[in-house]
Symmetry: C2
Subunit: 151 residues, 2 copies
DNA sequence: ACAGCTATTGCAACTAGTTGCAAAAAAGAC
DNA sequence: GTCTTTTTTGCAACTAGTTGCAATAGCTGT
């Protein structure tokens, strides 16, 4: 029973003149079933759990395709593996480089910067979906504490 | 004849309690001699041109160390290889995803956004040195032209 | 149904970058 | 100076991700 959500993705694929093959459908299913971010590895695992004859190349290429269509975000969260996320509304991530906490940042927050760059540099930024590293509040407090713990 | 610039880096390394080994010095020299961005590959080549017994692991680890110390920036400009750059003043890059043009963005441009995020999310962003993709003016015009060229 | 075309997949080989571990080099204690 | 400890290096094996290419699957027109 394909969810409403998956059917919408199907329509968006078709609108781009791209086929929704069984492999691609399964990748979408696994992404939809993964809350938050997932890795290519886990997507491949999830797909192969149901149908083992799918190649990792296909998974990587599907993730790349979906990213190009704006349906998936690739996030380099600083770990060894790239993370992937099925997108609904455009947003970004604040990632604490100390504890790994991730905060969602709505896209609109970037509008002032977007306009500034357009005005001053004649450059049209994409801000597709990006990761911003820093220190979260809890870690700021811990670091500020006297005799604080090592980073 | 080590340049003024290299000596400063030396001092900064020493201040961090890190040794300036011959290998590290050579990596710095090659970086200093490379205008703009370079790849790890080219750094290794440059180092080995003078002293072939240096391992790629050492180069990668040195680049990582220098990045952690804020002396080098790692940039994923969308190509196959990560790019590295010896830093003087903090800055960022606007990269045209159509023609590859790179524009330098002074760090101060991000101050308003930085403050907004600190205020609204209690998160202290780093903005170490990052790459922002988009479309440059020339490409915007070409794309807008009637019967414009394919992307 | 069949021929011809394009889109897509799977495989194997490859590339960039990382990691574990033992050896070497430097620094410190006495 | 020599013993000990810490830092750094080199090697080899590994991982994530990519690429070239031949094979397959799915249209399209007839």
């Amino acid at each position: 029973m394909p969810s409403e959500r998956l059917l919408q993705y199907n329509a968006r694929l078709a609108a781009s003149g791209v086929r929704l093959t069984p492999q691609r459908f399964m990748v979408l299913e696994v992404l939809a079933a993964s809350p938050g971010h997932t890795t290519a590895d886990k997507v491949l695992g999830g797909v192969q759990a149901r149908y083992p004859y799918v190649n990792k190349t296909t998974v990587y290429r599907t993730l790349e395709l979906l990213t190009a269509l704006g349906m998936v975000a690739m996030i380099d969260a600083g770990g060894a593996q790239t993370e992937y996320e099925l997108l609904d509304a455009p947003h970004h991530h604040l990632i604490c480089k100390r504890c790994g906490l991730q905060i969602e940042l709505p896209d609109a927050t970037l509008n002032p910067l977007r306009q500034l760059i357009e005005r001053e540099h004649n450059f049209q930024p994409s801000f597709d979906h990006f990761a911003l590293f820093g220190v979260c509040q809890a870690c700021q407090e811990q670091l500020a504490a006297p005799g604080g713990p090592p980073p």
